[in-house]
Subunit: 344 residues, 2 copies
DNA sequence: AAGCGATATGAAATCGATTTCAAAAAAATA
DNA sequence: TATTTTTTTGAAATCGATTTCATATCGCTT
């Protein structure tokens, strides 16, 4: 690769000092109109590209945000990533990304890598910080990292420098349960996923609590956790529900994939949605539009989520004051997978 | 943020020169066992994290690969991204990513940004380089960029330094057409998407050519381009096919989303898959498993694609010789969306 | 014990941009 | 016009790691 042209080359050609060129580029000080013109011209002519590494070194941090997600393929995260990238770009930042697929060691390793990369901020969504009870080791690790790089997460921050932007999972559960209740359903099941992920646990707990508060029947068998978070997991969970002597009339599934899987199990049984079962999912990804009938789903505004995550990340990097605790509220998107119980 | 500890700090504490610490870290030269121990100990104790910016500056390039994709949300690219990230990590590289959503200016801007970031290589999949006839301006831009940073792409490289890893779209079309032909179908339609995207054009051309070669009827109305690449686009395209006086018996859709949309149009008409229409899609994302019936789809091994893209990117960065032109072959994944024509 | 090559080490230059500090030039004031 | 104030500018230090080159240290040979 040909040597790249540097600020020195430009300065020499323009007959000024590198400092002057730098000042022009950053706008940190005035430069006489005459030199300004000459320099601008040369920059164009030589196709000069400022070296971000040198700049980052000098300023002890880069204009890059490190983003750690559980999974790029899941459309919820894919959409979030897409929005985050747009937000970052808008603010003049780039995104270094990694997906951990739940691998703890990897998460640790990548926190480290990003630290070495001297990213301005680390944004972490899902993963260990999002478990119900992150272990001691993890908390310490994040804390240690956060001594060098601020962290923005939707999960547990543990007093580290940074901020938290969480999704209101309880409100989400409430929207689902109350919608079904208002439709006249009394027998409502809940399909969860693997592990004690905070988002799942919070929904499940709220679901159970709301059934009680509303005087609806609660049954242990109506809370089923599949082996994962994909359609197969939902399928298996629904099969268990279908095998029950006392079937529910409505099902809440922890995400669109599990809901789609549940739908397949229902069809396989020769039953229909919403005729025989009403179905509500969470996340409102494009999958809920791809299913027939289209799934009624609880939706988070991912643009808002992204804007808060990246906005906070950038604000922290620039030493601005930010809200330590932010919450994104869900809303219900009604489609075709539910109907009035007993009614038309 | 607290100052980070540097190689100087470690050196001072260990009573050696920074050079020695560096040599130990990089392994570029021998260091006596005694100092080695002392240094290792201190690095642990101080939680020293080498500054990748400084390293990159010194070595005039970073261990980061810049990745430009059209769209993170599309599961084809999401999966590719996921695989690429894994491949990069395996080789000690990080990924800076951006999605252009087809915006040309953005693509140009981001080529620039990554250049400034001094990424080791730029990997570009989809987007302008992947158009059938990239315009002069674009070709020049890539060429100029490629003078500073090598480029790996699935599309047009235009003699720039780098390499090309393409998907064999023609073979993919062949697998689809021949499969349907072997099932006895003679009336086969093709649903494309918006614009003259190379991948689409190549498939469509091959499809048309194969119909001729096989003596199957060809009709202009059987080639329909939707307004995009999503399910709605496929839906609209299929409605046009359904409105035809002479309907085809099989449909090839340019990706899983358009296929899913086409399926909905078919159901809406009260018809069934595969009873009334056989349906083959491309890409074989999880969407083809999410549909009922599951879609028969032409699949690319994205792990191989990713491995070739990132492998080449890293090899080029290290000045190793690489194959200038690589091809990834597709295979057909048979599921439940096709059946013998006329037969059982 | 003197001389030789092989190793381990340190001092200093380097990568490219920013910034401090001081000097020079320009503008404003007396 | 002389003097002060303000604005532009350049020289040099800095960010943190790597590497070249020279020197010190060691073991080995004769």
């Amino acid at each position: 690769m040909g040597k790249m042209v540097t600020i020195y080359d430009i300065a020499r050609e323009a007959g000024v000092s590198p400092a002057t060129v730098s000042r022009m580029l950053t706008g940190n000080a005035k430069v006489s109109e005459e030199k300004r013109k000459r320099i601008t011209e040369l920059i164009r002519a030589y196709d000069y590209k400022p070296n971000a590494l040198a700049k980052g070194l000098r300023e002890t941090k880069s204009r890059v945000i490190g983003m750690i997600l559980v999974d790029f393929v899941n459309p919820f995260y894919a959409t979030l990533l897409s929005s985050c990238e747009k937000e970052a770009r808008k603010r003049g930042y780039s995104l270094i990304v990694t997906s951990t697929l739940g691998d703890r060691e990897l998460e640790d390793a990548y926190l480290d890598t990003m630290c070495q990369q001297r990213v301005a901020t680390i944004v972490m969504v899902g993963g260990r910080s999002d478990e119900l009870a992150p272990d001691e080791g993890y908390v310490g690790h994040v804390k240690r990292i956060a001594e060098s790089v601020p962290v923005v997460t939707n999960g547990y921050l543990g007093g580290a420098e940074g901020c938290r932007v969480r999704l209101d999972e309880e409100k989400a559960a409430e929207l689902a349960v109350e919608y079904l209740r208002d439709l006249g359903h009394r027998e409502i099941a809940f399909i969860g996923g693997k592990g004690e992920i905070r988002s799942t646990v919070e929904k499940r707990l709220k679901y159970a609590q709301l059934l009680m508060q509303n005087g609806l029947p609660t049954r242990k068998e109506w809370i089923v956790d599949g082996p994962g978070y994909d359609d197969k997991s939902g399928y298996e969970a629904m099969r268990k529900l279908l095998a029950l002597p006392c079937r529910p009339t409505a099902v809440i599934a922890v995400n669109d994939f599990t809901a789609a899987g549940a739908a397949h199990a229902i069809w396989e049984e020769g039953l229909g949605i919403p005729e025989d079962f009403s179905l509500v999912s969470f996340d409102d990804t494009y999958v809920s539009n791809l299913c027939r009938p289209r799934l009624t789903s609880v939706s988070y505004d991912l643009e808002e989520f992204a804007s808060r995550l990246i906005g906070s990340a950038v604000d922290i990097a620039h030493g601005r004051k930010i809200e330590q605790n932010q919450v994104v509220e869900p809303k219900l998107v009604v489609r075709d997978s539910c109907k009035q119980y007993g009614g038309g």
